[in-house]
Amino acid sequence: MRALDKKLLRDFRRLWAQAISIALVLACGVAIVLISYGMYGALENTRSAYYERNRFADIFASATRAPRNLQSEIADIEGVWAVELRTVKDAVLDLPNRVKTATGRIISLPASGGGILNVPLLRSGRLPEPDAAGEIMVNEPFALANDYQLGDVIQANLNGRKRSLTIVGTALSPEYIYTIGPGSLMPDNENFGILWMAETAASAAFDMSGAFNDVSLKLTRDADPDEVIDRLDDILEPYGGTGAYGRDQQLSDAFIDSELLGLETMARILPPVFFGIAAFLVNMVIGRIVALERSQIGLMKALGYTDFTIATHYILLAVLIAIVGVLVGWGLGAWAARGMALIYAEFFTFPYLLFSVSSFTYVLSGVLGILSAALGAVFNAMKAARLAPAIAMSPPAPPNFRRGLLDSAFSVMKLSQPTMMILRGITRWPLRASLTALGLSLGVAVLVASSFFEDSMEEIIDVAFSQSSRQDGVLLLTSVQPLSVLADVERLPGVLRAEGQLSLPVRLTNGHLEKRVSIEANWPGADLSRVIDPDGNVITAPEEGILLTKRLAGQLAVVPGDWIDVEFLTGLREQHRLQVSGIVTQYFGIGAYMDANYAARLFRQSPRISHANVLVDESRMDELHHALKETPNLAGLIMLTDTRRVFRDTIKENMLIQSFIYIAIAAMITIGVTYNSARIQLSERARELASLRILGFTNAEVSYILMGETLLLVIVAQPLGWALGALIAWSMSFAFASDLYTIPVILERHTYGFASVVALIAAVGSVLVVRRRLDTLDLVSVMKTRE
């Protein structure tokens, strides 16, 4: 081994504490690249492979009841490659050994066996026999959640008739990777299942012989989806078509998209922060080492080492630090990716989830890590290489302090000399001080930007569950019914209060802007399902006019007072021009609201409802479920109490893990910056501080000077961190927002406080570790030696 390499390794060993603190920051960046790119790639590749193999459709539409002979007409639309017609209906399930009802989505399986589009992937057992009326195949998560074996029998209320259905197989479907039931916020496999049934059986059960109510299309490569959607809508219009849509509005696919978006956002925002801080720290440390080794550099040059060798020597030191960081980051990333895979497995059901991170991602993250460290070192390495040997061997001139504008201010303030030393240290190297403050503020920002989710979730839960959806449950009717049916609902055991609501699928148009949503029509005085305005007040839809959620109003570019075209996609498919009378705050989904009486007047009909919101006496829940199993015309019961519980539990659990991770990350950044900054302070000021000790300054007074500059920067960094954190929170909220959900930016004072407390503890802790070295400062050597 060459002597210079030995020096390199020994320098590295000597710097271990600083090296580790930098390596950890770098490791965070590497790990996040690994997780986000790796997961992104894995999720997207798995999804596209799955879609490809199981022929996931491109266009989806439903109708009330359309004749099967439309098939050829649909297939003739230009750009359509394949057509699949199905019967899809929701039904109340009566599961063995439990009182609570569940909701099942019955999907017909074409006689061909599995169909040609959205082909279910058989996991166990077999497909239902084409002519067997009582056989079903269920989605695997539903079977697992309820512990069903092949051969188990469940009861279902199909079109008012109770049927016994035998489970003959389990399967997964590209349509239900994210399996979310009607009205739910998260997958709840125990209470919502997919039931595939032979086409003849399903048609017979739902009175759909020779008809269909669901169509999926696969397009050719060069097809224009919008054109196909328009044509399909035209064809289905007479049969109660509610508007075709592409994959972007297919619920399962949209949720995966939103997850991919999250990963992409994470990959874009976080790694540059960590790599930037690591590069800055490397720059600081190598800069100090080059200053300390000035005479050694002079010597090496005098001995004939080239500029290149010397520059490489210092860059390699940074690379060694980076290698440690990359290795730790890989370990951390692999571990976190496994944890993430488990979280994904909880929400997404893939048959063969490819959660391995590609070797390319490992290489990429490693290269990025090493490159950022090398970049951090390159400036000082060049400086070392450029030192002329004669100059390098003579001691450096004292740092050039001169009187500046700020000095007059300092004089006026009559500061003590130690305070002056601290302030001059900052004003003498403003760039270094600013970068240090920036690095420290990023630690705070990471915490603010991550903790805001917690406050936002509280707000979301409050708005969604305490203020808007206050009902215990929602009874979904199989079809739209007269308002009088409410009286029957009220008579159900345990129902304390029932309110009707009517969902109206519509297409809203403002000029060229168009959006397909559902209008919820409520009766005045409705108390269980309400909407609130941006100021947090409950608003009711006016006698005439329409309320839009904020995001929807933005998408349609309308404000209260504007008029929009509303095309109702059910009934007589009437078109009306309605005035936007207000904006609604809603975090889940997008939608519109109107007065149900107004809707009835518009359609010249008696008032109708599509579902009933109910308040239930908890103690009579069993009786209610029992009665519901026997109630015809019921498509399902959504227990919002369950939804809330699942939502809260899942969020809480994930928040806890997330908070822990972000606190660790913030602490790592803060420790990395403060520890290195204080170590460099100590190294630069060691002689100065020892002189002061000799002059009679106490240990405490000298500690003040050592810690003062770093801690002052820590304090300056706090408000900067709050602002940066808020900025990151805003941009994340903006990046995450989709039609599925929006995350409001709620930043409570305690969030800022908490972030700063964590940062201050980490900062003071690491500075105190450095301060301990003052106790062993060698006063005597200062008398004799020069740096």
């Binding site: 002056m420 002061l692 009679g696 300054f697 005597v780």
Partner: protein, 240 residues
């Protein structure tokens, strides 16, 4: 007070040793030193490298502990003080001048002196101390803006500004050329004359001995010879 000082013994050491244990082999930096320094006296400590003069100065200045023996500063036994008490002792009584000045680069001349006057019980004004060393016109200059000799004079001003009882100088001219070195020595001499500050100067430069009241020569951790100058010469007459 001056009379008392003239009469008094400022430092007294009794069989002081300092032993460094360097992995088995014991090195005697001081091998039994008995010494008295008198009030108002300017003493030059001479001797080759490793003869123990700096070690002794460090022990007298409260920077280091003796391994054995007693060290007295007036009626204060330094050898029994802990670190905190030694800091107090240095703060109140001792002025140091180092070979490499050890000024704080981020403070101007005046502020470097103020560093000491801020914490001393009865200091002179920083500008007064700087005037004494002939730097009354360089008050607001930073170390980087001054020559080596000027920086060393700031260091002397910083050392004397607290009106110390003793001034300990370790190679104060070691890094200077003859012209600036003489200016520094003149400053030390002036302080000694004017305030009667007991001054000990370590040097390699034997010609400096002629300005001292007494010259103590060190050899192998012991005092070899003590010589009293009947006639002292002025620094400007020293042949460098």
């Amino acid at each position: 007070m001056d009379a008392q000082r003239d009469a008094g013994i400022v430092f007294r050491t009794d069989d002081v040793t300092k032993v460094y244990d360097t992995g088995g082999a014991k090195v005697y930096a001081l091998a039994g030193v008995d010494l008295e320094l008198h009030a108002g006296e300017l003493t030059v400590l001479l001797g080759p490298s490793g003869s123990g003069k700096s070690t002794l100065l460090n022990i007298l200045g409260g920077l280091d502990h003796a391994t054995s023996g007693e060290v007295w500063f007036r009626d204060l036994e330094l050898s029994k003080l802990n670190d905190r008490e030694l800091t107090r002792y240095r703060r109140d009584n001792v002025g140091f001048v180092f070979q490499f000045y050890n000024l704080v680069p981020s403070l101007s001349a005046r502020e470097n002196v103020a560093l000491v006057t801020d914490i001393a019980p009865n200091p002179m004004r920083p500008d007064e101390a700087l005037s004494l060393v002939g730097l009354g016109h360089r008050l607001d200059h930073f170390p980087a803006e001054m020559s080596g000799g000027e920086q060393q004079r700031v260091a002397i001003a910083r050392a004397i500004a607290k009106r110390p009882d003793v001034l300990l100088c370790d190679e104060p001219t070691g890094a200077l050329d003859s012209k600036t070195g003489i200016a520094v020595l003149q400053a030390l001499r002036d302080i000694n004359d004017q305030f009667g500050t007991t001054t000990a100067v370590i040097t390699h430069n034997a010609s400096i001995r002629k300005m001292a009241h007494r010259v103590i020569r060190f050899q192998d951790g012991k005092i070899g010879e003590v010589e009293v100058n009947e006639t002292r010469i002025a620094p400007k007459d020293i042949e460098w």
